[in-house]
């Protein structure tokens, strides 16, 4: 007699993890009859696609020098009186060259998310919080990570945050991150 509620041993999603490893194969068989070739399974090979890339920060370089010295640098157009939190050396409104200025290190969360997945490069760091930070007297926002709150429910738009810096600079925009302020 069948049990009323048989224990479920496997669901449709029960699967072994797919791996990107495989076996080295040097030759495959070919049928005598060439007419059969159109029904042949595709041959799929794997090969590496890696490069050491030389990337210059160019005119943005002072921003990274600033981070390694515990300073957050933006730029300002003196003519338009417009301050960019993420630096750009040319004003988008008037086209003039902008000046480097130091930004405040305290701001507010303009918006946020918590990434539970991510690009392969950052997958091992998930979950992490991304925030766009707004500063008083600054016209644009700044993308950074927020450390401290555990869950997205613990983050509020408008909450105060302050900048912290890595002691050992990696010369990456992640040399600065934010934590909840007072």
């Amino acid at each position: 007699m069948a049990k009323k509620n048989p224990t479920k041993l496997a669901s449709a999603s029960t699967r072994v993890e797919e791996l990107m490893t495989g076996t080295t194969v040097f030759n495959v068989p070919l049928p005598q009859d060439l007419k059969r070739l159109k029904t042949m399974s595709p041959i799929v090979i794997k090969h590496p696609y890696l490069v050491e890339y030389i990337h210059s920060y160019g005119q943005d370089s002072p921003f990274f020098a600033g981070l390694s010295n515990g300073k957050l640098l933006g730029t300002r157009c003196r003519k338009c009186n417009y301050t960019y939190a993420t630096p750009r050396l040319a004003c988008v409104t008037c086209g003039r060259e902008t000046e480097w200025v130091e930004l405040p290190q305290e701001g507010r969360v303009h918006t946020f998310t918590t990434c539970y997945f991510g690009s392969e490069e950052f997958l091992k760091e998930t979950p992490f919080h991304l925030v766009l930070v707004e500063f008083d007297g600054v016209d644009t926002l700044f993308l950074s990570r927020l450390l401290g709150p555990e869950r997205p429910e613990d983050i509020r738009i408008g909450m105060k945050v302050k900048a912290r810096f890595r002691r050992n600079s990696q010369l990456k925009p992640t040399d600065v991150y934010f934590v909840p302020g007072e």
């Binding site: 998310t113 918590t114 997945f117 690009s119 392969e120 991304l130 993308l143």
Partner: protein, 428 residues
Amino acid sequence: MRPVYMVSGGVSKFEKARPDATFQKMVKESFDYAMNDVPRLKRHMIDGSVVSYFSDHFTRQLMAGIMATDYLGLCPKPNKRVEGGGATGGLCFQAAWEAVASGRMNVCAAYGFETMSHVPTWKGNEFIALASDVNFDYPVGGFYSGYYAMMVNRHMHEFGTTVEQLAMVSVKNHMNAYFNPYAQKRRKLTIADVRDSEMVAYPLTLLDICVMSDGAATCLLADEETAFRLTDRPVRITGVGTGTDMMRMSDRPHGEVILAPNEKKSDYRKLKYPGVHSFRAGRSAGLQAYRMAGITDPIREIDFVELHDAYTSSEIQTYEDLALCKYGGGGKFVEEGHPFMPQIDYGLKLKKRGTIPVNPSGGLIACGHPVGATGLMQAVFAFWQIQGSIRKHYGDGELQLAKANRGLIHSHAGTGTYVTVSILERGW
């Protein structure tokens, strides 16, 4: 400029992976389908072509465009590649329109493809995230779902949009796709299914986000005289618009709303625009296309929309950009039922169903998003809708709208960096 018509289209069914075919063969499948649908068009009558694919990383084949072109036997005629992130297909469609409108060509073929299965999903997300500033944005944790999640959190804060309203978009598009054999994901879902699926980037779940695909699509465009020689049901392209915005969404201004013809300044006394909650490029593209097509009241003058729903949230944001409702009204717009199909049962209580069906095909969320093909796929599905030939091409007439004289297609890149809008109308 002279009038331009679409005379045929074809789609190579979008799949998670097509190991049986290279990109050339997928393009050929869509091209052959389009050619077979207008037997009077012979290949020698095609004056040139435009080809689109987004990422050289996915393809790992530079100049793949010419390889698709030579496979189709269209050498030595003119051809060029068009690329602009997620809007690649929409830009390709408009490039073909330009070739015919200018008089340079009488018949121009536009085809596009993407082969995203060649890397695992999270490597694919990395390739896509490289379409964000690699000095300042990508290294912080580059992930497009994260970027869109930040935008929708601000949208929710600004306007009170809810996650259930986002989920309704997913239910709608997956259900529409249930009747579209070209779709990659054909599923009957509930709001609870969407909310209970895996969280990807708060508040967006797996079912709020489109998937990666292999696939190709082709559109054939012609001048008026040729179009009517080829088919008795050509579809006229009466408006095109293209908008842009700054790559880094953190750089977007907080200024005044660009007003649509059916809006006034007093509608938006306090709103800072576009900020990160709205797409200025989408609004700009829409208004250009409306002006060219003579549209002043889009919701009354357009019968259906195929828009770039890479995320459920961006579909809601786009209702507003296209002035189908006021800024801030996108959540209510879907909740009330306006973008649902009138004839389909979604298992939802909807007050006003089918005012303007959005993504009758199932959109990117359900059909898939092989980037370089997507904008062209939308054009093909809109073309069949206007021709009234959905039953012929889908083998099922469930998705055919009773009134489909004028449709809008919308293709969208980055965090709203390139957006194209084109208006297609019954031409006969």
